[in-house]
Structures are given as C-alpha cells and as structure tokens.
Symmetry: C2
Subunit: 336 residues, 2 copies
C-alpha cells in the first residue's frame, strides 16, 4: 500500500506532514509513504529526522514537486498554471499506478480540481464531492457534500447518497447505512425547492433512505449519512467548528468566576480534553473525495501529525475496501 | 404597553405561558398582558393562580379565542380555515390597536402567515422574515432569516440586512451594526449563485456591510448581523442546538469515566449550568418577525416561563424603540 502525501499543503508546514507519515508507517508494516514536495527541502527534513527513522527509512521515499498551490490560489487557475504543483504531481503518481492514493492538507478546491483533471470521474458520476465525518453522541455520521459543489441539482445529491452509502458501509462497517436528507422539517413538504425534488428521487435509490433529517438530528447519531449541497454542508461544518470552540471558551469563562469551580476544573480537565478530542476533526482523519477515479483524502489546513496519520490510514482503508468499485456497482443498480 | 400572548402555542401548555406573563408584569409596572385562548380554560387557570396575583390581576386580562393551530397544521391552510385561532385573534388585537404586539410559541410558519394576513407587510418589504439571536463569546449576533423564506432572491437578503441592521441598532444598542453575508469563504468570489449576487447588492446598502462571513465567524462575536436565506439559517440554528445538546452529553460521558472527574463535576456544575444558560434560546427572548406592519415575536415551542417573559420584554422593546419606523426609513434611503 503506497500513499502519496502532499507535504506542502498544511498550514503547519512540511515538518508536521512528515511526522504524520512517520507515525503512519510505524503503525502499519505494509504501508509505504511517498512524500511529495521540493526535493532539497524534503531531503533536509528527512536528514533532520534520520535518527528516529530506524527501520522505517525504506518505507518513506521522496518525489520531487517544485511548485505549491496556496490557500489563496484560485483552484481552476492554479491547476491550469502550476503543472508541477505537489497535488498535480501526487495525482500523477496515482494515475500512473506508482501510488494508491493521495493525502493533502492543502487548498481543497484545488485538490478536487487536480483530482478531476488527472484521474477523471468514476463512470456515471457527474459531480464528485467531499465527504466529511461528524462526531455524534453515538457513531460518527458522514455529511456529503461539505464544500465542493455549492449549486446542485437533485441528481447530484442523489449521487452523493449513493457514494456516501457505499463509503460508510465499507469504511465504517455500517450495515445498511441510514441516509437522511438535510432539511428544515421531517415532513416531505418541508425544505427548499432543491430538497423537495431531491426527496422524491432519493426514495427510488438503492440505499436505505430514512427521509428528511433536521439540523438537530445530525449530532444524535440516529442517521449514518446526511446528504446536502456543498454550500449548506460547508456552513454546517464551520458553524459546528465555531460553536465547539466557542463552547469551550464559554465554559472556561464560567469556571473562572468562582474558586470552587476553578478547583473543579483541575479535576475535570482531562474529561474536557477527552471531549475536545471527540469533536476534533483531527481524530476523524480527513475527508474523502468521492466520485473521482482514484483515491484522494483532504485534511483540514490546520492538521497536526495525528490528523495526517489518520488521513493516511483512511486513504489506505478506502483502497483496501475497494470503495470506488462499490460506488460504480451501486450506481449501476439504479441506472440499469 | 399592551402585549397579547398566545397561551396555546407552546409545547408546555397554557400554564407555562401564564407563568411567563405573570413574571413579565411583575418586572415592569407599565406592562399589560392580554392572554389569548379559550375563555373557560383561561378562567380556570387564572382562578388557580389568583393567590399569587396580588396587585397584578388588573394588568392581566383575557381574550377569548376558541381555536388552536397545532405544530402539524399547514400554515397556509390553517390561516385560511381556523379564523378563530389564537394567533389570528391575537393579531386582530394588534390590528385594531387593542394590543401593541403579539407573542406566540406556536407554529412559526402559521404565526408568520397570520401576521402577513392580518397586519400586512411594511411598505416596500417583499418578504418578511424571522430574526434569531445567537449567543457568542462576546455579544449576541442576529441571524436572519432563520426559517420563513427557504428560497430567496438577492433583494430579499438585501431587505433582511436592512431590517436586521435597524433592529439590532435599536433593540441591542449596537452602533453601526456590522452586517456579514453567510458564505463559505471571505472572498467575494466564494459562495453559491445567490450569495455572489447578494454580495454585490449589499455593498450598496445603507448599512455597515463587512463582507462575507463563514460559519466559524458566527460564534466569534465579530459580526453583529448574519444574513442568509431561511433554509441555511434554520439549519444553522438547529445544527447549533443539536451540537450544544450533544456537547453537554459528551462532556458528561467523559466525566463519568473517572471518580476524580465526578468529584470535579460537583464543583463545576454551576459553571456548566451558566454555560447552558448562555447558549439557551430561552435567555434570548424569542425571534422577532421583521417586515410585518406591526410587532410579533415567535418563541421556541419548548419555551419555559423565563423564555416567555423575555419574549414579552423583547416585544415591548421593539414597540418602544419604534423598530418598524426605522426599517421603513432605512429602506427609503436606498430606494430614494
């Protein structure tokens, strides 16, 4: 299993990516990571790490890619102009069979654009999308799309349902994943024009459609896949991140008001850290690009080494479990 | 100041509404509350309370309304068929000058429909909307629309900005409220088709437009008004409610893992309750209907007495501060 890793993507620099790669190969003996980035920079970094690489060195190799797509680059332009960028070279490795998947913490729009350009779409898929994992009080839920497609038609949301259903079944071992359509009421009549049309279409799909779900239901853990357009999905994700952060701050503000609570804080600090870990995107290992003819995982720009390691793990599991084959098969069931 | 209160709206029954009314008139001497509901039921309830009403009795009166619109009723049909429903009778009081505003914890779609039918729109307003208050680490932010208009055009969002700007200035005493457009990136180029068009329009408005804001920014407190369509707004609200609830459960699950944390919990319990109070909709006193020619406040269906009292307070402040006059004036500045 060979995973290409874009070391230039994350906000925290190549050091963090390399630490993640190291952690990943330490964990699994069958894993090989190809670091993609400027050769001189990578060789310096690798030299700096050499003492800790005992026995792992041969499972971490370097692929030169001189250009970097930044967060400020326009995805379409960047993909056209920066042909030697890390994500472009990384997806070339996947295309040529030299790597099984690419992991990047870079510009997610550009990563998606590069994937479509280099690998193309899976047969029958019109809009690949990004699937995100959300923590709940029970098991994680997959939300799709979380940002790739801001203006969607019903058939796009239908395909998201097919893809996310196959993915959660194979990646998270969910039996007959429960698919919900994100709306503002459980009734079929509730929602905007897109949702009302999509509802009818989802009823006919080869998956376990349980109807509309509301924002409140996302975190209850009684639905496995939540389908929505990329605008609504991205806002849901960011609102959640913002609230989780604000909640920790508000709780601390309240605690600092009394000595009694300050003492209590010392005793529950670990529990709060446990909660933070639970809601932390880092633990959920990045977001699969679904619908491309190959495997790509996008990590949060602020990813730390654990997040990178988890994303590599998720990428490997996507390949091992042949998620793409299952998607094409499921799509065929309907169009047949 | 006379506020009509729909006692049949909330999930918790008329008892809760009456307690809220009692708390409101206790707090302010210039307040009069008109309970709207079935006369016999109200008279029974009022008789049950009589001991606690010392000196307040004359500031709480009863208006008979025999019908009730339930949460399951279709707003349009209910407003057409149930002419004697509490919200219909309540808005009649406002229309006839017998009340200054109506507060209801009932079916929000029906309350909006009844308001439009009985009071009409403010001159120049094409789509009245519902404005919601969200807590942040700093001051509350107003989000509009939170559910009345699921499919919007740019000019509707423009009018939401005008209305919410006037409302936060007068109701929350925000100087030059900062207006943000909810999107998936700060750049003008980011967002769906609706948001991109709206961005251009908001730049021309008679308010302090600070550009696109992301979901993450909502809870930071660096924006005073967040503009979005009612579909996105409602999902933002419900996702937040769901996550806040799930967060409390997750924190408790973590705390129950060790004795040390359990002891700590006893010491921080009050701080957690303080946090819960902060995020609790109850403290934010309901959601103003903006754009109708009169004053109406919608409360959460699960409202307790404190929420009802706060909503009555907000209704009175809307009237005192002549929010509607300010809206019409601000709208004129642009169309002139």
């Amino acid at each position: 299993m060979r995973i290409a890793l874009d070391v230039m993507g994350g906000d925290r620099g190549p050091e963090m990516a390399i630490q993640g790669a190291l952690a990943a190969v330490q964990e699994r003996n069958d894993l090989h990571v190809i670091l993609v980035g400027p050769r001189t920079l990578l060789e310096e970094q690798v030299a700096g790490h050499s003492s800790g690489w005992h026995g792992l060195r041969e499972r971490i190799t370097v692929q030169h890619a001189p250009e970097v797509i930044t967060m400020d680059d326009s995805p379409v332009e960047a993909v056209r102009k920066k042909k030697e960028a890390t994500v472009m070279v990384g997806f070339d490795l996947v295309k040529n069979g030299e790597a099984d998947a690419l992991v990047s913490a870079g510009n997610s729009g550009a990563t998606m654009a590069a994937a479509i350009k280099k690998l193309g779409r899976l047969p029958g898929i019109s809009r690949p999308g990004i699937a995100g994992f959300f923590p709940t009080v029970k098991k994680p839920v997959m939300l799709m799309d979380i940002g790739a497609n801001v203006d969607c038609r019903p058939q796009h949301l239908y395909q998201f349902a097919v893809m996310a259903s196959s993915c959660t079944r194979l990646l998270l071992n969910y039996d007959h994943p429960r698919i919900g359509l994100l709306s503002i009421g459980a009734e079929t009549s509730k929602g905007n024009a897109l949702v009302k049309e999509t509802h009818c279409l989802l009823k006919q799909g080869p998956f376990n459609f349980i109807g509309n779900v509301e924002g409140r239901d996302v975190y209850k853990g009684d639905v496995d896949v939540v389908v929505c357009d990329g605008f609504v999905g991205n806002i849901s994700l960011k609102i959640s991140e913002g609230l989780a952060e604000a909640a920790m701050q508000m709780i601390k503000q309240e605690i600092m008001k009394t000595w009694r609570a300050k003492v209590g804080y010392l005793l529950i600090r670990e529990a709060l850290a446990g909660f933070k870990k639970q809601v932390d995107y880092a633990e959920y290992g990045g977001a699969p690009l679904l619908g491309i003819d190959g495997t790509g995982i996008i990590c949060h720009g602020a990813s730390n080494a654990i997040a990178i390691r988890n994303a590599i793990e998720v990428a490997a599991n996507m390949v091992r479990n042949r998620v793409n084959e299952a998607i094409v098969h499921a799509l065929g069931e309907y169009t047949a």
